[in-house]
Amino acid sequence: MTDDTIFHHGDPVAKLAPIVEMKNIEKHFGNIIALAGVSFDVRPGECHCLLGDNGAGKSTFIKIMSGVHKPTKGEILFNGAPMSFNSPRDAMEAGIATVFQDLAMIPLMSVARNFFMGREPTKGSYLTKRLDVDKMNQVVMDEMRGMGINLRAPDQAVGTLSGGERQTVAIARAVYFGAKVLILDEPTSALGVRQTSNVLATIDKVRKQGVGVVFISHNVRHALAVGDRFTVLNRGKTLGTAQRGEISQGELQDLMAGGQELALLEGSLGGTV
């Protein structure tokens, strides 16, 4: 585990009040119980990892958090007050930004046009109302430089960026537009080693700006590299939240797999999973 801590430069989590607190969330789809009482919270400046195998309920859970679904039972507190999101737009306006796997980016369009898509800065009024192109270019170059990516030009097409760089653009965009909580859905799942480390470094930078990061993953190594706290979902239930340092890679792996199955495999695979 010590090898994986290179992205963790933050202090131990200060006991700040959570921005979002989800209490005993249940979600039923017909007679299928997708979530059976999950509690989860995010504090400013931390990276809280939500781990779970495929089908554990991670996607359902973040869709509730980002306003796509409404919970069947349970409470969502936002800055301590009860909150009910009717649409993703509501959640976005409250400051909960979700970067889904498709990233909501258009490869043929420039980085600057993607960055401001749907929220373009303008100058002038009425008939002379037009894009503030200089501001768009300046902000994009600055924000991307802040994340450690030097664009050749702001009009570079997103299609020419690597997967990790695109992920970083999406994260930088969410943060620039005032995200207090940033939900990242499997941001490293399709990336190579170097790109993964770039994204993990980005997560660390965002956390230092005081944003609460929810990092969804099924890769324990990636989670341990940046996470402050770890919550494991299995079959729609949480198996508890662990602080950084309290838990090892092997233990997390076992929790995700539900204990026994992986233990059985371990002999033949030699602990490589």
Partner: protein, 365 residues
């Protein structure tokens, strides 16, 4: 990382590779090629002022359609019904003016609103059903053409041509904006001081700029400005590039596409108004196959068939290429019917070129 390192990379991109990223580059290169071709093969009178107006007039009539079509293509949709729309709007306009004696001040807005309404039917079927616009507007290609024929026979008592438009609009204050030539005074003055060629009697050989050319240039400029310098332009690119990503980012995709269908239909109506006033009559074959020519001009102008990429100024150049080829062959010793071969060849080259450019822009390999 320091700012100097990014500056180094900025400089590394040469002016040439920046130019290659422009979607209208192909059309501009094509225009230069075609101009050179005709400069060598055609009679020198093609590039006099009169010759210029000669090929710019059909270019402008097509170009107004092509710019509408290019915006719609960038927005990710097609409209194959614009040619039939020209006939249908022409019929509506003709009936307004001739049969009902409506002044242009009312007839022109009514025709545009009527066209926008038909465009919105196209748009709402495409948006609600989720079917490809290709097939929905193909249906309207036939529906509108058929309705134009039926409507003309009804309005004229069995004829497929409605005459008497010129007499009906004579003296109307709006007529000079939609027919004839603009700036006749300027051209007379230019002739008077000997800057342009004149007939024996002193009248200028070119009496003015045909109004469609003014409309064509104005629409090209406005469309380019909207595309590149307004939020709506960004939304058009976004809606065509990936409608899910765009609507997740808060872009009103359905509204944008609907507006584009209406705009394209209005462009067709404007062409109908101009050509009907010019000819003094309207007939059912008006705008025949113009939808394909407009799409060809838009593709030569750099629009991708898949949407999300292209330019209005490219469609402008594409239309001028078209006008030069249609008219220019008459100035050469070639058979005029080479025009179709030429058009198809241009389309093929343009599509191949656009495909290569798209791969370059998106970094696909």
């Amino acid at each position: 990382m320091s700012s100097t390192s990014s500056d180094e990379r900025l400089r590394a991109e040469s002016a040439f590779s920046r130019l290659l990223k422009k979607p209208e580059l192909g059309a501009l290169a094509g225009l230069i090629l075609v101009t050179v071709f005709f400069a060598i093969t055609a009679d020198s009178s093609m590039f006099t002022l009169a010759g210029f107006m000669n090929f710019m007039k059909p270019a402008a009539q097509l170009g107004i359609l092509a710019i509408g079509a290019s915006l719609l293509m960038i927005g990710g949709e097609f409209d194959l019904s614009i040619g039939s729309m020209v006939a249908f709007a022409g019929l509506f306009f003709g009936v307004c003016v001739v049969t009902w004696n409506v002044p242009l001040l009312l007839a022109i807005p009514a025709t545009l609103i009527f066209a926008a309404f038909v465009g919105s039917i196209n748009g709402s079927i495409v948006m609600r059903s989720g079917l490809p616009s290709f097939i929905v507007t193909l249906a309207f290609l036939f529906i509108l053409r058929g309705l134009s024929l039926v409507g003309l026979k009804w309005a004229t008592g069995g004829n497929t041509q409605l005459r008497g438009v010129r007499e009906a609009v004579e003296g109307d204050i709006l007529a000079p904006f939609f027919s004839g030539n603009a700036f006749p005074g300027l051209f007379e003055w230019l002739a008077h001081i000997g800057l342009i060629e004149t007939f024996r009697n002193g009248a200028p050989k070119v009496p003015g700029i045909p109004v469609e050319i003014i409309w064509f240039v104005a629409i090209a400029l406005i469309a380019t400005y909207v595309l590149l310098r307004t939020p709506v332009g960004n939304w058009i690119f976004a809606a065509g590039g990936d409608k899910t990503a765009a609507s997740n980012s808060g872009v009103p995709v359905a509204k944008i596409k609907m507006a584009l269908f209406m705009l394209t239909a209005c462009c067709a109506a404007l062409v109908a108004i101009i050509t009907v006033l010019d000819a003094g009559s309207t007939d059912a074959r008006r705008g025949f196959q113009k939808e394909f020519e407009a799409i060809i001009a838009a593709v030569i102008g750099g629009c991708l068939l898949t949407g999300g990429y292209g330019s209005a100024i490219g469609a402008f150049f594409g239309s001028i290429i078209f006008g030069m080829v249609v008219i220019g062959l008459a100035y050469t010793s070639f058979d005029q019917d080479w025009f179709q071969v030429f058009l198809g060849g241009m389309l093929l080259i343009a599509v191949l070129f656009n495909n290569a450019i798209r791969k370059r822009v998106t970094g696909e390999r």
